[in-house]
């Protein structure tokens, strides 16, 4: 009941911003657009409006996205077990907020990482796996610094996000993979709901449009520099 359908238009306005100072009457809303016009992206943006404190969203769709909200580590492992036994495994496995499940316990981190790898490798070819972890721990945690070295045993590639200062919300993204050059992007979340992606530190192919690019340009920032700048994390 967090989102009554009469609030839908207001939610979308909040997602696209800026919000109306004086919200008028709001109505059930139908989003219309041709193939590729971004209907799904817009709905997802509405879902995420308000950030972590936003309303809990029930997302229903016939295809593509399947959302699960396991509240505990035990519930998450049950989901992973169910995934491994499906006739048709997902094409991509995303796990957001590992910290919630591991509670900064080193052994729980290893167990969960191993379980995610098992689930990802249960299908052939393996299901690609991306997980996110909040670093540094908020609030600071005494065993927090043990967790990342343990997760690195299992997750061989890393993507570091570092917010940049400025009027717009910007993030520097650095992707570090074993045996490959690291790549960097600068992502900016505009206040009109847009997202712009730029290759960072020059790019290899020179075709980056600067702002509207899709992130295919190659960055050259060294992963070590990025890691050091994250203060030892």
């Amino acid at each position: 009941a967090a989102i009554g359908c009469s609030r839908m238009a207001a939610i979308l306005e909040q997602a696209l911003g800026p919000e109306r100072a004086e919200p008028g009457p709001t109505w059930p809303l139908l989003v219309l657009g041709p193939v590729g016009s971004g209907r799904t992206a817009l709905l997802l943006r509405a879902a995420l409006a308000g950030g972590g404190d936003g309303p809990r969203v029930l997302y229903m769709a016939p295809t593509r996205l399947e959302l699960r909200y396991p509240p505990t580590l035990a519930a998450l492992t049950q989901e992973l077990a169910a995934m491994a036994t499906r006739a048709r495994p997902p094409g991509l496995l995303l796990v957001d907020g590992l910290e919630h499940y591991i509670q900064w316990r080193p052994n729980a981190a290893a167990r969960l990482a191993a379980m995610l790898l098992e689930a990802s490798r249960a299908s052939h070819p393996p299901t690609p796996l991306i997980a996110s972890l909040c670093l540094p721990p908020v609030p600071p945690h005494p065993t927090g610094h043990h967790v990342l070295p343990i997760l690195r045993r299992y997750f061989l590639a890393e993507c570091h996000l570092r917010p940049t200062d400025g009027t717009h919300m910007g993030v520097e993204v650095c992707l570090i993979q074993p045996g490959g050059a690291s790549r960097g992007w600068r992502v900016r979340f505009g206040d009109q709901g847009g997202i712009s992606v730029m290759a960072r530190d020059g790019d290899g192919d020179g075709s980056d449009g600067g702002g509207g690019g899709d992130g295919d340009g190659g960055g050259s920032l060294g992963g070590d520099v990025m890691l050091r700048s994250l203060g030892g994390w």
């Binding site: 080193p106 290893a110 379980m115 790898l117 098992e118 043990h146 045993r153 299992y154």
Partner: protein, 140 residues
């Protein structure tokens, strides 16, 4: 799980498998190699293999895990696609201290596979899930 081993260890296991298939025997130089690479885990792991302590557990969907009956009589779970064991040594020596990259149970799994010494057990999906969820043993 093989990809998580250093190349030299993978090579050694391959040689052990080959030698054992041809002669039903593992030559001393390969055993010395095991001792050199895996230090104090090597001999206890070989003991576990001798006692056929490693069971490969498979569910109908093909998911696999290993159960190793430790020398203390406790049953530990090892994952099949990456290094994880529920024994205290794995949590302490491997994860926290980084003094070793595996425990004797995981090494016993590798050796039992190379020597064809795994016991086989088929279980339901639910049983396999509960095996994978087996609690870790606390240190001490």
């Amino acid at each position: 799980m093989d990809s998580t081993l250093p190349a030299v260890a993978q090579e050694l296991l391959k040689e052990i498998r080959k030698a054992f298939q041809e002669t039903s025997h593992v030559p001393d130089d390969l055993l010395l190699g095991l001792k050199f690479l895996f230090g104090p885990s090597a001999v206890p792991a070989l003991d576990l293999v001798d006692q056929r302590s490693v069971t490969r557990v498979v569910s109908p969907s093909g998911r696999t895990a290993y159960q190793v009956l430790g020398s203390s009589g406790k049953l530990y779970t090892c994952y099949s696609s990456c290094h994880f064991c529920t024994c205290p040594a794995f949590g302490f020596t491997v994860l926290q201290k980084s003094e070793s990259f595996l425990c004797k149970h995981i090494l016993a799994v590798y050796l039992s596979r190379a020597l064809g010494a795994c016991q086989e057990l088929t279980v339901s999906e639910e049983q396999l899930t509960s095996i994978l969820l087996a609690e870790e043993e606390d240190e001490g």
